[in-house]
């Protein structure tokens, strides 16, 4: 089959869009941007499905989200500005976890976009280093370096009196 049947595409969007936006938000920590990336990725994937069969549509779309995000920061005129607003924790958040939650958020925000991408894909999404390297368009060695630096920074933050791990 080539070409994503309309009904299947619509059903996929209806059921997976929110999850995909959450995924993109993990990478960007900006909801508007996350939405844009997912839109771009879905449109690219829909068009790609006419040329070749997508074996695993969701994996394809997720990879396209990562690629779209990488091309965004590759553009020289783009500067990432992270707005320092801590989102309100969910009401049912147990209070003893609140501090840890905010600390981890703070530490993640301090990472560079590339470091954050590697950490999220490797440890939250369980991608292999090879998959990450492929989606980001870098060598596996670069992924390892980025991951190790990011972990150092997270651990350093944790040691600085903020209990992360």
């Amino acid at each position: 089959m080539t070409g994503w049947p309309d009904q299947e595409f619509d059903a996929f969007v209806a059921s997976r869009l929110a999850t995909l936006v959450r995924f993109a938000y993990s990478l960007t920590r900006d909801l508007g941007l996350a939405e844009d990336l997912v839109q771009t990725a879905l449109m690219k994937s829909y068009r790609a499905s006419r040329r070749h069969r997508l074996e695993n549509p969701e994996a394809y779309v997720r990879r396209a989200v990562v690629t779209a995000n990488v091309s965004r920061w590759r553009r020289p005129h783009m500067i990432e500005v992270l707005v320092d607003v801590v989102p309100e924790p969910a009401a049912d958040q147990p209070s003893d976890r609140l501090e840890e939650h905010q600390t981890m958020q703070g530490l993640l925000r301090e990472l560079t976009p590339r470091q954050r991408t590697v950490i999220v894909l490797r440890y939250q999404e369980d991608w292999s280093e090879a998959q990450i390297a492929d989606a980001m368009g870098v060598h596996v060695g670069t992924v390892k370096t980025l991951a190790s630096r990011a972990l150092d920074r997270l651990r350093a933050g944790a040691l600085a009196g903020r209990s992360v791990l």
């Binding site: 309309d6 595409f9 619509d10 059903a11 996929f12 969007v13 209806a14 869009l17 929110a18 936006v21 959450r22 938000y25 993990s26 920590r29 900006d30 909801l31 508007g32 941007l33 996350a34 939405e35 844009d36 997912v38 839109q39 771009t40 879905l42 449109m43 690219k44 829909y46 068009r47 779209a68 989102p87 309100e88 969910a90 976890r97 840890e100 939650h101 981890m104 958020q105 993640l108 950490i119 999220v120 440890y123 939250q124 369980d126 992360v164 791990l165």
Partner: protein, 224 residues
């Protein structure tokens, strides 16, 4: 619990999206339509807000009054706000057509197209552009802030239509090459209004002010 499970849990909690995400009905169709039209990916941002009901962040758009060409100051519209009734997205039930005005007079006018309420008739040139689908259209009801779609401006009600990038470019070309002429906005072979083009209008959002009955009439025609 293994260490990697612990990591995942920490990351997932830290990366939780503030607020609730809800997918608009018809989001897939909007995306398919845009993908088919081959809109360049980097312009996908034009769709912003068309897919989700509840998201954070702000969207600042420049709005231009269709009648005067004046820029309307717009504060960032928070997409997290509840969507007012009367907002539609995607395909219009009937297209919005733009035609140049060649003459006008009392009805019946030979070969003339009446206004929505039949108060006047226009002789019109051929259709210059046809808007089939919109990123967002809102009709008339006051929604708290004058910057929201569908808000009233003064005593009048407003139709606001978010254009696709293709339509935006077409409308900019059309207005740019016919400054000083009058252009009729036609829905279902009725003229909604026929403003004079004061300047080239290049904007994501078209505002069509008018009396509330006109706005209700247009909403009924355009909503599928």
């Amino acid at each position: 619990m293994t260490q990697s499970d612990e990591w995942r849990e920490l990351l997932e909690r830290a990366n939780e999206v503030p607020g609730r995400i809800q997918v608009r009905p018809g989001a897939g169709a909007v995306l398919r339509a845009h993908a088919r039209r081959g809109i360049r990916q980097r312009r996908a941002a034009a769709l912003a807000g068309a897919l989700l009901l509840t998201v954070g962040g702000g969207l600042a758009v420049a709005k231009v009054d269709l009648l005067t060409g004046a820029r309307v100051p717009v504060a960032p519209a928070h997409r997290s706000q509840a969507v007012a009734p009367g907002v539609l997205i995607g395909d219009l039930a009937t297209p919005i057509e733009m035609r140049l005005v060649e003459g006008s007079g009392a009805c019946p006018l030979n070969g003339g197209v009446p206004t929505w309420d039949g108060s006047e008739c226009y002789r019109l040139g051929p259709t210059q552009m046809r808007i089939l689908a919109v990123g967002r259209a809102a009709f008339g009801q006051p929604a708290g802030s004058p910057t929201q779609p569908g808000a009233t401006v003064g005593e009048r009600s407003v139709i606001s239509v978010e254009l696709t990038q293709t339509d935006r470019a077409a409308y900019a070309d059309l207005t740019g090459s016919h400054v000083g002429q009058r252009i009729a906005v036609v829905v279902d072979n009725r003229v909604l209004g026929a403003p004079e083009i004061s300047e080239r209008i290049d904007s994501d959002v078209l505002l069509m002010p008018g009396p509330p009955p006109m706005v209700s009439w247009a909403a009924a025609q355009l909503t599928p």
